[in-house]
């Protein structure tokens, strides 16, 4: 004989969205770097940018930094509107 029990888990509802269209080329694009203030995230992004700069010429690079890892990112309108791509370092 079985007992019927109620599911304690919260239902998560979301509509799937496709990821943003990709860039054919990074040249003359605006690159965003989001530093979540974890140790070495800034250094990591510095070296990523340095390596990317050797291969591509960006129109601009915008950097923002969270005040701590545990709070939402302080996105500015300029950052959201101008960046063609964003690299976020890093969940740690």
């Amino acid at each position: 004989m079985a007992l019927e029990l109620m599911n304690p888990c919260g239902v998560s509802r979301y509509d799937e969205e496709p990821i943003a269209p990709r860039l054919r080329d990074l040249t003359k694009k605006v690159l965003g770097l989001l530093d979540n203030s974890k140790n070495n995230a800034d250094l990591f992004l510095d070296h990523v940018l340095k390596a990317l700069n050797k291969a591509y010429s960006f129109a601009d690079v915008l950097r923002i930094k969270k005040s701590s890892g545990a709070v939402p990112a302080p996105f500015t309108t300029e950052f959201l509107e101008r960046c063609n791509a964003v690299i976020n370092a890093f969940g740690d």
Partner: protein, 453 residues
């Protein structure tokens, strides 16, 4: 980007945002203590994948990263009951379980739905009885709980409250605490997913505290009282099952704390020389309220010798001023629980709560020489205004301003108080305890005794 240990958290967040195929590049954990040369090396090694993610076909990337899995060091014991994810929209509201209490607990434990202790089986009868006692609409959604943005309906909250062992009368407190936790400034997402050993502490004020028998006196923060134990436990189950923060998976607490099982008590308003905490927060004394705090476990302040306010508060300052909490570099709201005897000593010397906070702000300072070089470098980046220009011999306060220090009175007789450090990136939230119509619940006659008489 995520380190491999935190990939699961990043992937869950991406799924909740509707992008299960969001490309997440993984790097070896931990990054925090890597030497600069190694950070540079790993960064350069990541660049080809970064370019791949930014420039290749989006549909192909989605398939690739949707399928990506990373083995965590956490020993995962959870199985899913409903396909891949028990919180999916199509998961059944009810499920078949064995009839014996032991077998039910074994099943729910294996699903990761308990806190490791036996639960009361959440039958429809028990859940309906709890909800109808208060006349709530079971489908009313109180809010979405992170990290999985699970819908906290009245029914789901009641299911977890039943499992925790709550009696019918406790439901409004659990609902009020859930409402408070969802407030943006509480930063529940941060609290649920951090490596920090923090939990949600629930403080109850007002007439309902006494009506429900919530302990505010001897052993208030300890075991033995049903209301304290089960309300706090219900909150933890709500956070785990509705919010989805399962230990080792989305709850990344390095070692957690016993306070994560249950942390709920009432303020000892009768023995406090000052106004109750909820009154300080703007709620009339005659009404009842819940405050949620994102905090660590309590640290006792043992002071049997001090004879004056300054002396007692000096001891409290000493316990408060430690480099190992988040206060010095994130600020936040340190919570001080004064035992009634200490509170009387302090107030007898004419100290108001405001003056207590001022004193602690001035005295509870962490000398720079107690902060490691590595931490100083990090803190200077996170809070440059506080740390720049500080030299040897100087010290750092444990709050951004005196008003951020919170003071309550609880406990029985004895010359003890407690410091409860805050997670830092969170603010305490106080809400009135209300009924289904949003009206404050006044202490009222029960329908027919308590459900546990």
């Amino acid at each position: 980007m995520c380190t491999d240990e935190f990939f699961a958290l990043g992937k869950a967040e991406a799924e909740i945002l509707g992008m299960p195929g969001l490309p997440i590049l993984t790097i070896p954990h931990p990054m925090a203590r890597q030497r600069p040369e190694r950070v540079a090396e790993l960064a350069v090694q990541s660049v080809p994948e970064i370019i791949h993610i930014l420039t290749n076909d989006a549909a192909g990337l989605e398939r690739e990263y949707k399928a990506k899995t990373v083995v965590s060091r956490a020993k995962l014991r959870y199985k899913t009951l409903f396909g891949d994810d028990f919180s999916l929209e199509e998961s059944p509201d009810k499920f078949k379980a064995p009839t014996s209490l032991e077998a039910i607990n074994k099943l729910l434990y294996a699903r990761g739905w308990t806190d490791g202790l036996p639960i009361i089986p959440p039958t429809e009868e028990r859940v309906k009885e709890m909800i109808s006692h208060w006349g709530w609409n079971p489908q009313e959604i109180i809010g979405l709980l992170p990290p999985k943005r699970g819908e906290a309906s009245v029914e789901k909250i009641a299911i977890n409250a039943v499992m925790a062992g709550c009696i019918l009368e406790y439901l409004p407190v659990v609902i009020a605490a859930t409402k408070a936790m969802i407030e943006k400034d509480f930063n529940l997402y941060g609290l649920q997913t951090t490596t920090h050993s923090c939990t949600v502490m629930v403080l109850v004020n007002g007439p309902m505290a006494e009506e429900l028998g919530i302990n505010c006196g001897y052993n208030a923060m300890g075991q033995g009282n049903m209301a304290n134990a089960t309300i706090g436990r219900a909150i933890r189950l709500v956070l785990t099952n509705i919010g989805g923060a399962s230990p080792g998976i989305l709850d990344r607490a390095t070692f957690g704390s016993p306070a994560k099982y249950s942390f709920c008590f009432a303020e000892n308003e009768a023995e406090s020389p000052w106004e109750p905490f909820h009154v300080e927060r703007g709620i009339p004394k005659s009404l009842s309220a819940v405050t949620v705090f994102g905090v660590e476990g309590p640290h006792n302040v043992n002071d049997h010798g001090s004879q004056s306010a300054e002396e007692v508060l000096l001891t409290v300052s000493g316990v408060l001023a430690t480099p190992g909490t988040n206060h010095i570099y994130l600020g936040g709201e340190p919570l001080i629980v004064l035992g009634p005897e200490h509170a009387q000593i302090i107030s007898s010397d004419g100290f108001s709560k405001g003056e207590v906070k001022q004193f602690l702000y001035q005295k509870a300072r962490v000398p720079l020489e107690l902060i490691s070089r590595g931490n100083l470098d990090r803190f200077r980046k996170i809070w440059p205004e506080r740390f720049s220009g500080l030299g040897n011999g100087e010290s750092v306060p444990i709050a951004a301003k005196p008003e951020d220090i919170l003071v309550i009175v609880a406990g029985g007789q004895g010359r003890h108080s407690a410091v409860i450090p805050s997670f830092g990136a969170t603010k305490a939230i106080t809400v009135p305890i209300t009924d289904r119509d949003g009206q404050p619940i006044l202490v009222r006659e029960r329908k027919s005794g308590t459900s546990r008489d």
